[in-house]
């Protein structure tokens, strides 16, 4: 695929702790995205980035923040994890907003206890 690596693959954390998920892509894609996947909801956009230091909120951004200091890295932070943030998180990247498809990482399963 487009060389997108997410870390960690799995994580269990306690309510109230901060958590950072990492996404690294090697394709020099300008656009990057964080989605969460929950049963019955499909994939919902949390935050996205359209360039270094250029980010914006998606559909379900409350409780999440992101940073993009380099083209290849996009970090998702849960400032204070809650049980409702238990989910599978996907990072994706895209070359341009035209006909190029989204390329996905393998996801991070996060459990907040």
């Amino acid at each position: 695929d487009a060389g997108i690596t997410q870390s960690p693959r799995h994580k269990v954390t306690e309510t109230g702790t901060p958590v950072t998920l990492r996404c690294h892509q090697t394709e020099n894609h300008r656009y990057m995205y964080w989605y969460r996947q929950d049963p019955g909801h499909g994939l919902r956009l949390i935050h996205y980035s359209y360039g270094v230091k250029d980010t914006d909120k998606g559909e379900v951004s409350d409780g999440y923040s992101v940073s993009r200091s380099k083209t290849e890295d996009f970090l998702l932070t849960l400032e204070s994890a809650t049980s409702s943030q238990t989910s599978v998180y996907f990072c994706a990247s895209r070359l341009d907003p035209y006909n190029s498809p989204l390329h996905f990482g393998n996801g991070t399963r996060l459990t907040v206890t």
């Binding site: 919902r44 895209r94 907003p97 989204l102 996905f104 996801g107």
Partner: protein, 116 residues
């Protein structure tokens, strides 16, 4: 607002038979793209097929083809000669051509089981 609806939460098909997954969408954009993604139990998201809205010809990729009805805003996926490896969640997605966001809107998915 853009929406994507997949009305079939689950479907099953016998190996070697043909199955069609439904997808409808709503958008105010005049030019856009449509995609089908497959998610097997491994959790990986795999692009199956894509369709440019300005093209009347339906896209085809080997055993996978679409029936794109622009006026009806319908984008169904047909899988011919179903194989056990086709067992997966299938997501329909839609996004505008261009724009600052480049985001795709996803449906809730259809879980397809291929039975031997």
């Amino acid at each position: 607002a853009q929406t994507v609806t997949q009305s079939q939460p689950e479907m099953s098909v016998q190996e070697a038979e043909t199955v069609t997954l439904s997808c409808t969408y709503d958008t105010s954009e005049s030019n856009y793209y449509l995609f089908w993604y497959k998610q097997p139990p491994s959790r990986q998201m795999i692009l199956v097929i894509r369709q440019e809205a300005y093209k009347q010809q339906n896209a085809t990729e080997n055993r996978f083809s679409v029936n794109f009805q622009k006026a009806a805003k319908s984008f169904s996926l047909k899988i011919s000669d179903s194989q056990l490896g086709d067992t997966a969640m299938y997501f329909c997605a839609q996004g505008p051509y261009g724009g600052s966001q480049g985001n795709l809107i996803f449906g809730k998915g259809t879980k397809l089981s291929v039975k031997p």
